[in-house]
Symmetry: C2
Subunit: 702 residues, 2 copies
């Protein structure tokens, strides 16, 4: 029944074998045994390599090879001018390379034998291999199109960019409805059907006989290091054929099994005979951070039995790589979806203003009631909205600040839910300062800096000067988290000069049709003084700021402009803002024409320090117009209560003139009593959840 194979050199291997990816076990050393026949399982796409000399009986001089048609082999060094049926001279380095081109229908349905001959062509021994071929492929969506393709040659590595490859994993940090709410990745029980879409599908494709030869088995495994970042589930019922990331039907998943987790680094998975696909669901558990680059490997091995008391040998390993999706922030240039504010006993006026604005832009206003906010109105400071994205699914994720004011439970209790994720970083109480409020955490629109693209913009935070021997800082755990996300490389600005210390007190971004698609707005005392001096020169020196405000003495322009101390304070403030201006120009690649200076004055307040040293820090002199809310082309700006000129507030008029040139409309919202007097403004008191970027983060080039 044996035939000589027609393929006698490695270059004659079937094309599909040459195209298959290089696998961990692609060439396996096999021992021949002339004492007894061996049953061998062969994995398609690999080859078996055997030293002909090593197992030859003593005095062997020649050998011949026979096999069934399903088996291909080659001999090196290639025999000179002999038919393979004729005994071939045995050399010290004679090697036989064996492969097969299709999966076996039955166990041991293929065969290869090597016959050894002595000096006089006398048969000294025959080594017989009974071969079973199986096809095994652990598959993921390595080409990032939302569908798990078959055996992608790049599935075992990860590369950034539009021509890159590698599968993507979400941190399953939203919360399916359960009795006691927590992020799904912290749940210990079996996931629900609705949870599977937050995981990445991984398919084990196999082809072969109905059963593997006795003792052989498939094992899925992860490293100890990866195990704290990932879990793998599968359906209890094997043989599922779906391989897209559509919502699986409830019958399929009603019985999910946990395969791998922090406690189980390795587990057997069933082999299903014939042509089979088994779905696995891979769940990310943690975001990239200082000690985690976001990459995770999952392997599947075929194990060969040895005997009791001895570990099975992996004879083939297939590996896939995932990267955990980073947490991404959304700049002001993205469309708003929901606006969040707090209701307090004293902010009715503000709420009315916000309600009108939000209604105008057709967005949704969500009001956090007083029993939840307990009087903490700083919606901006407690949390930052972002999102995570993959080719198959995305959802918003709130980053909860370690600030933890009275609003501290809002992100977890009110936002975390189905398709709304939650992440936080825990800091020691003593390490948390006002700079940890997320009014001090912003993100720029997309920029290009010296030829380097940042299509998702760059994160901005405020800290003390790097040269400061003391000073407040954003806590290290949050900074480490932000830097580790990698796709919106952060920039550290100087905000410690401000009493409250948030970068949103001196800067914001608004959309614009021309130039880079946006403008950077900066608070500018110089612009304020310039405006006021012009008004004074035009005879409006007696015009008053703060007119008609309860509990606030009005002040004339002349009084302001004659206040030498205030001028000196504002010179200092301008130099602090200019320092940031220089950094922002450099790090965002901006020109002066990309920046608009807003007329805003500050004043310095004495801060009592523990060390009894006097420190002065800045607060806005009148409502800080740059601290605005940006909803598309509509701006909600703190009403400045500036000097009236010809019946109109000169600050509002200047602001409108500057913004209308960019095609933006200004709505001034009275936040004087309820926010400004408490050292915050419209932006501090609101938060906006925005649409994600169209640009996909995995298309970034590094």
């Amino acid at each position: 029944m044996f035939q000589v194979s027609q393929t006698a050199s490695p270059s004659a291997l079937p094309a599909f074998l040459q195209k298959r990816p290089v696998m961990a076990g692609y060439q396996r050393t096999l021992r021949l045994d002339t004492n007894r026949p061996q049953a061998v399982v062969h994995v398609l796409g690999t080859s078996l390599k055997t030293s002909l000399n090593r197992s030859a009986p003593p005095s062997s001089k020649f050998f011949s090879v026979k096999c069934t048609p399903s088996v291909q082999y080659s001999i090196t060094p290639p025999p000179q001018g002999t038919s393979h049926l004729t005994p071939i001279p045995l050399q010290g380095n004679s090697v036989l390379l064996i492969s097969m081109s299709q999966a076996s229908q039955e166990e041991n349905d293929s065969k290869l034998s090597v016959c050894y001959y002595g000096e006089n062509k006398k048969v000294l021994g025959i080594a017989v291999l009974h071969l079973t071929a199986v096809e095994i492929s652990l598959d993921v969506d390595a080409d990032r199109d939302g569908v798990v393709e078959k055996n992608n040659p790049n599935k075992g590595s990860w590369k950034w960019g539009s021509s890159g490859h590698g599968a993507i994993l979400l941190v399953n940090c939203d919360s399916e409805p359960t009795y006691q709410k927590k992020p799904d990745c912290q749940e210990d029980c079996t996931p629900k059907v609705s949870d599977l879409k937050d995981m990445s599908l991984m398919v084990l494709r196999t082809k072969g006989p109905a059963r593997l030869p006795s003792g052989y088995k498939l094992t899925m495994h992860i490293s100890q290091g990866d195990a704290e970042s990932v879990r793998v589930f599968r359906s209890r019922i094997p043989g599922v054929q779906k391989n897209t990331l559509q919502q699986p039907s409830s019958t399929v998943v009603k019985d999910l099994l946990r395969v791998l987790s922090i406690d189980v680094l390795s587990q057997d998975v069933p082999y299903v005979g014939g042509t089979a696909e088994m779905n696995f669901y891979v769940e990310g558990l943690r975001f990239p951070d200082k000690d985690f680059d976001g990459l995770i490997s999952i392997s599947l091995s075929l194990l060969e039995p040895i005997s009791a008391g001895l570990p099975e040998t992996p004879i083939f390993t297939d590996k896939v790589v995932f990267r955990v999706a980073p947490w991404i922030m959304t700049p002001n240039t993205l469309q708003p979806m929901e606006v969040f504010v707090c209701s307090t006993s004293d902010n009715n006026q503000f709420l009315k203003g916000m309600n009108n604005l939000v209604a105008k832009v057709g967005s949704k206003l969500k009001i956090c009631s007083e029993d939840v906010n307990r009087g903490d109105r700083w919606m901006q400071d407690e949390l930052e909205f972002g999102y995570i994205d993959s080719p198959h699914h995305w959802f918003p994720v709130v980053l909860d600040s370690p600030r933890d004011g009275e609003l501290q439970d809002f992100p977890y209790d009110e936002l975390l839910g189905p398709d709304f994720g939650y992440v936080t970083r825990i800091a020691k109480r003593k390490d948390v300062s006002s700079l940890d409020s997320f009014g001090n955490l912003e993100v720029s629109p997309p920029v290009t800096v010296n030829g380097k693209n940042f299509p998702l913009g760059r994160i901005l935070i405020g800290v003390a000067f790097p040269t400061a021997t003391k000073g407040r800082n954003m806590t290290k755990v949050v900074q480490d988290f932000l830097w580790a996300q990698k796709v919106q490389e952060p920039i550290a600005l100087f905000s410690d000069w401000l009493f409250v210390g948030h970068i949103d007190e001196f800067m914001t971004f608004v959309p614009a049709k021309d130039r880079k698609g946006f403008r950077l707005l900066l608070a500018s005392p110089d612009a304020g003084y310039k405006l006021f001096r012009g008004l004074q020169k035009d005879g409006h020196g007696q015009a008053k700021l703060f007119e008609g405000l309860k509990g606030q003495e009005p002040v004339t322009l002349d009084e302001i402009l004659n206040d030498k101390s205030l001028q000196a304070e504002n010179n200092y403030v301008q130099s602090c803002i200019d320092w940031n201006r220089d950094v922002l120009k450099r790090e965002l690649g901006l020109d002066d024409d990309d920046i608009v200076d807003l007329p805003i004055l500050f004043k310095l307040e004495l801060e009592k320090k523990e060390e009894e040293e006097e420190t002065y820090r800045a607060v806005a002199y009148y409502p800080d117009m740059v601290n605005m809310i940006v909803l598309g082309k509509s701006l909600g700006i703190p009403k400045p209560f500036g000097p009236k000129v010809n019946g109109r507030c000169a600050l509002e008029a200047e602001m409108c003139s500057l913004m209308e040139g960019l095609g933006l409309s200004c709505t001034f919202i009275d936040d004087f009593a309820s926010y400004h007097k408490l050292l915050g403004e419209v932006h501090c008191g609101s938060n906006v959840r925005r649409k994600p970027f169209d640009f996909k983060w995995w298309n970034l080039e590094f």
Copy 2:
């Protein structure tokens, strides 16, 4: 005295300015003030940018600019066809860019003024700048030639490769002689003169007037994250002119000051007038690890005073980057410098053999006495020799295993010293197993794998199968350390099948003149059986192993070859070694011809496990010849006590024949009673400190 500068456009900036590196403060926004003259410090290589419009008095329509010859300026948009002496029309976006080309001799020795005019060319105000120019450069050996060059444009970043750049730092882990020995980087007191060569020189070069204008100062600073990895010292006497890494004279350093450390992230450094150089000494404190990529930045800023209670503003920052040198292992192909063994009450025979061998190769034998080793003879297992290297200095560094047998104090007490560094990783007792002995940690000679060069070879460790649900492993802290060194990318082999569990029980490397410069030697039961069967066939079946050994029953070849169980055990061992062979071929890019199979048999021993489950693991049947010591072309091989054929041990004869073909000489050392019977051999009982690679690790390409 004022003259109009001849350079009126940025492209006309002096060439040296255009060549200077992009600095953190290279373009600084400056406010003009028509109310009072300003004193401004300018740093050469940067420019001052000022908005002409922002500070213009109301109604200004024109301006003109005058300056001393030392000052260059340009105006954008460029004025149309007017002399600069004629008033130029003021536009909304008019910008003045100011720079200077050489350091000031005296404070405020340069001047620039801007005059503003109204409609009828009436002067409305003059802004006057008194300028002081200084040159500041924080310098390191960024081109890696052992000398600190001046203002290398690449000093602020780090790039691998022979065309790369970036300075290098050693972990100061050796120990200068002190009262109580510890690694220098753990010393709290001021370093000694002899310690400076272990640090990297950093030079602050300044040029300018005798003093900086009042209140200005220089500050050196590091980030919180870097502060745990680096310290910076300087001489108390400023103005040192040395800039090579020669041994500094004792007068220079007798008074060292600590500038930066974990407790001091920022500190003022003196400004020395005229042309000055000040030496700083930078000390690495920790090796790259899982949470530390090895990169460290040090910055120097020029601070401008504001007023009491306000932080000084950094107006210029220069930055340098270091990478901490990785710990590098030395393969068998490097020349031996010292050989270490233990003296015990029962190993006289072994010591004699080692002494002869070491004398023959002209190396030094260092014997650890019994009062130090307390009977622990496994010199290989307690420690691994390596080294750290930089362009200016290198020294050996011992990695102390968490194994901690009776030899545990030897690396610290006996090896750590001047120019001999020490590093260890602390593991929990329960996480430490036999696989943490460094007989399980080896390194290959240089290899090229699929076109990728590993000129420092690759580290090899032994673990359980990745698929194993249980099994021993090298502890995670050591694995993390090894991977983080990056320059000898580790390979995990399977060694848990061995009773002792060390990779040196089945493999080693020896030098060879041909092919890749080395051979991989593998223990091979198949080769053993082949040899023995041949001998049996030739009539030597009654030849005995273990003849003349006390307490060891001799056994005939016939008995061995008839033992079916032993054959089965060795088949299993061969399959384990073959698994490793496949990995080694793949990961080191080896062909079969790069590998030599040594005739070595194993047997399985029952290991009693806590869970009362039976586990069998392998030990060598006769002295394990692959567990040899390699000293140049001389091999010290465990004497196998094999069957005598024609008066000569057939195993020794086979071994000699295999090795002599490679130009290597074999010395057989009797370790039977004192090592083999205790489950170790020559390699386990010795250790070799070798010469470092000629290849410099920073020339690696990634």
